[in-house]
């Protein structure tokens, strides 16, 4: 029976269903996981932050408490604000996001260090440069610095850093939220020298973000008064602490910190602070992707039903085609259960062979997808997507064994389900019913 053309077609249809499901799920899951990974690296495990540009006070005390806890691997403060960027000699001002950091500690708490190009191995020197020692360095988002990639998705760097100066201006705010320089020039400005660029692979970040030394950011934003303020503390947990568990501990710690400081000056600023897991902190970026993943899952459930139906039809046809044989088997005394078992064993074999063929082909295709795409690009200039437009470095090619297992089990189950009903129907008929029909 396995050698019949219709059986080979059934195996091929199951193989195709498994192949397409495996490829799409691997690529899409890979894109989502990669995107989440980038956001995780960008934010760290947990973020204590306020949306207010005024920031919050007493962060040093809380940082000291955090750093004393064994479940905290690193905790780094950050100043986050908006500003204007101007290149000396140009009258163009660009709106930017400013993040003031201590690069060494910030790199321990987040994946910042890995986003650098020149100082990737010494992230603590992220702001170091070889030009005017009186001017501090800055790290510029790579899209802002280079505009975009070439067609192959690569950014180009020269072996030495050219001298670029940037003047950054901010509106400093008082702890009460008022403009700090109402009577003077309104803004604080400072010139920085390009020291490195940061490639987080999150387009919104890479196109708007400039990192500057923490104390300069604090000064520019007016947060350096007697009651120093920050906007966020990024935390990375120790290896044995999960993100959820660590975040709960930080929340508890923050609650007790709040109680201890509720009678202090500017304690009201502490009320606006939230403690969030990185997934919640980056919710606005991740949510659309997750929604897309949910939609894709729904589509796959529908596809699953269609696959089961296709397999059902295939088996219905095979079993209808074999009804004469069923009649013969029944006429020689083979029981209905044995006949159902024969067809279920057949369906299992067809499902197993089909899904294994599909899984192997899918696996091979996914693992070579980047090579195939690179070859198509080199030979014919054809690309799945323009790397200069989409921030996806490569087609995800890591097949997850649990995904493969789930797909294979589902395909075999679909085959069994597809075969079950027609084989029961066929086995229920009397031998003469089947044989007479075939005789006609």
């Amino acid at each position: 029976m396995l050698k019949r053309r219709i059986t080979i077609l059934a195996i091929a249809s199951i193989a195709l269903c498994v192949f397409i499901t495996l490829v799409v799920m691997t690529v899409h899951n890979g894109i989502v996981n990669e995107f989440k990974g980038k956001n995780h690296r960008f934010a760290g495990d947990c973020v204590v932050s306020t949306d207010s540009l005024v920031g919050f006070t007493y962060y040093e005390d809380f940082l000291a408490e955090l750093r004393a806890k064994p479940f905290v691997f690193a905790a780094a403060p950050a100043i986050k604000s908006f500003g204007l960027l101007n290149q000396p000699g140009s009258d163009i001002n660009i709106g930017i996001e400013i993040t003031g950091i201590e690069p060494g500690e910030f790199s321990r708490a987040t994946g910042f260090g890995k986003t650098l190009y020149y100082n990737r191995l010494q992230p603590q020197d992220a702001f170091a440069h070889n030009y005017d020692k009186n001017l501090p360095g800055c790290v510029v988002g790579i899209i802002m610095m280079q505009g975009g990639t070439d067609k192959s998705g690569k950014y180009h760097h020269s072996s030495f850093r050219s001298r670029y100066e940037f003047s950054i201006s901010c509106f400093p705010l008082t702890a009460k939220g008022a403009l700090a320089k109402m009577s003077t020039g309104l803004v604080n400005s400072k010139t920085f020298i390009y020291a490195d660029d940061s490639h987080t692979q999150i387009p919104k970040v890479d196109s708007k973000m400039i990192y500057i030394p923490f104390h300069f950011a604090q000064k520019l934003c007016g947060m350096d008064g007697p009651d120093k303020r920050v906007n966020a503390i990024h935390i990375k947990f120790a290896e044995n602490t999960s993100v959820s568990e660590g975040t709960e501990k930080v929340k508890a710690l923050w609650q007790s910190f709040l109680q201890k400081n509720d009678d202090k000056k500017y304690a009201n600023l502490l009320q606006n602070v939230t403690v969030q897991k990185w997934t919640d902190f980056r919710r606005s970026s991740i949510a659309p992707m997750e929604k897309e993943q949910t939609m894709l899952l729904m589509l796959f459930i529908m596809l699953g039903f269609i696959t089961v139906f296709i397999i059902f039809v295939v088996f219905y046809m095979i079993i209808s085609h074999k009804s004469k044989d069923i009649g013969i088997l029944k006429s020689i005394g083979i029981s209905a259960i044995s006949i159902v078992n024969i067809f279920l064993a057949f369906a299992f074999l067809v499902g197993a062979i089909g899904s294994l063929v599909g899984a192997v082909c899918g696996w091979a295709f996914v693992s070579k997808a980047n090579d195939i795409e690179a070859w198509l690009f080199e030979e014919y200039g054809w690309q799945l997507w323009d790397r200069s437009v989409y921030a996806i470095g490569a087609i995800p090619d890591q097949v997850q064994i649990n995904v493969v297992t789930l797909i294979v089990i589902s395909a075999v189950a679909a085959s069994l389900l597809g075969a079950l009903i027609p084989s029961i129907q066929a086995a229920r008929k009397t031998p003469v019913e089947i044989l007479q029909v075939n005789q006609l």
Binding site: D325, G327, S331, I332, G333, I334, S338, T430, V432
Partner: protein
């Protein structure tokens, strides 16, 4: 001689849309062990239906069939399967061999079903020997690896007879066994049946041809659903 199978008051009606077709109308029949009975009748007289009911391939609407004094209507599904598998052997007009299996496998099939997976391995040798003996007797020893579609009509029918006999049934039921064959080949098949009967095998054969029916020891003529 003991009665091997008997039928009393057998009725069978088929529904054809709104109308009904009464095929058997209270038919009585009795066959003794070792007999060669030919059931003859025109097309549509109900002879094949009667044979199917005797072989438990179909159920009568009324009446009963007794095999060795036991009413087969009282058989459980399991017993009915055992009856089809071991007590009767059925030979069809259109052979009904499995195309995926070769000659030997086709013949072995009822024995495989009888012994099951485990029993098969312990009886395999003796069953194979019996199958080879039957195939040799029917002149098919050199055809055992052939598929049914590689055989002539007469050869296929002889394979079907060998298959029907593999479990040594007491009763051989043959439904128009020569109906699909030329007269010479058909004659060869009839000779095989006669030889088997000569060895003590009870045979009930259905045919529409009086000449073929005359080869039986006893002729039962069916007309309009009744024995005439």
């Amino acid at each position: 001689m003991d009665t091997i199978i008997s039928a009393t008051g057998i009725c069978k009606t088929y529904k054809l849309g709104q109308s009904t077709l009464e095929v058997l109308k209270g038919l009585d029949l009795s066959v003794n062990e070792g007999e060669f009975v030919a059931i003859v009748g025109a097309s549509g007289s109900g002879k094949s239906t009667l044979l199917h009911i005797l072989g438990a391939l179909d159920k009568a609407d009324a009446g009963n069939v007794r095999y060795k004094q036991r009413d087969i209507a009282s058989f459980s599904q399991k017993k009915l399967n055992l009856y089809r598998n071991g007590s009767v052997g059925f030979v069809f007009q259109f052979y009904h061999l499995l195309d995926e299996l070769n000659v030997l496998e086709n013949v072995l099939l009822p024995a495989m079903a009888k012994h099951g997976t485990i029993g098969w391995f312990s009886h395999k040798k003796s069953i194979k020997a019996r199958a080879m003996e039957l195939l040799h007797r029917f002149g098919l020893a050199d055809r055992i690896k052939h598929r049914p579609y590689q055989l002539s009509g007469g050869e296929r029918q002889r394979v079907a007879i060998a298959r029907a006999l593999i479990n040594q049934p007491k009763l051989l039921l043959a439904d128009e066994p020569t109906g699909n064959l030329d007269s010479e080949t058909g004659n060869g098949i009839l000779k095989v049946l006669e030889q088997l009967n000569g060895d003590g095998q009870t045979v009930i054969m259905v045919t529409h041809d009086d000449n073929i029916a005359s080869r039986g020891h006893k002729i039962i003529r069916l007309a309009d659903g009744k024995i005439v």
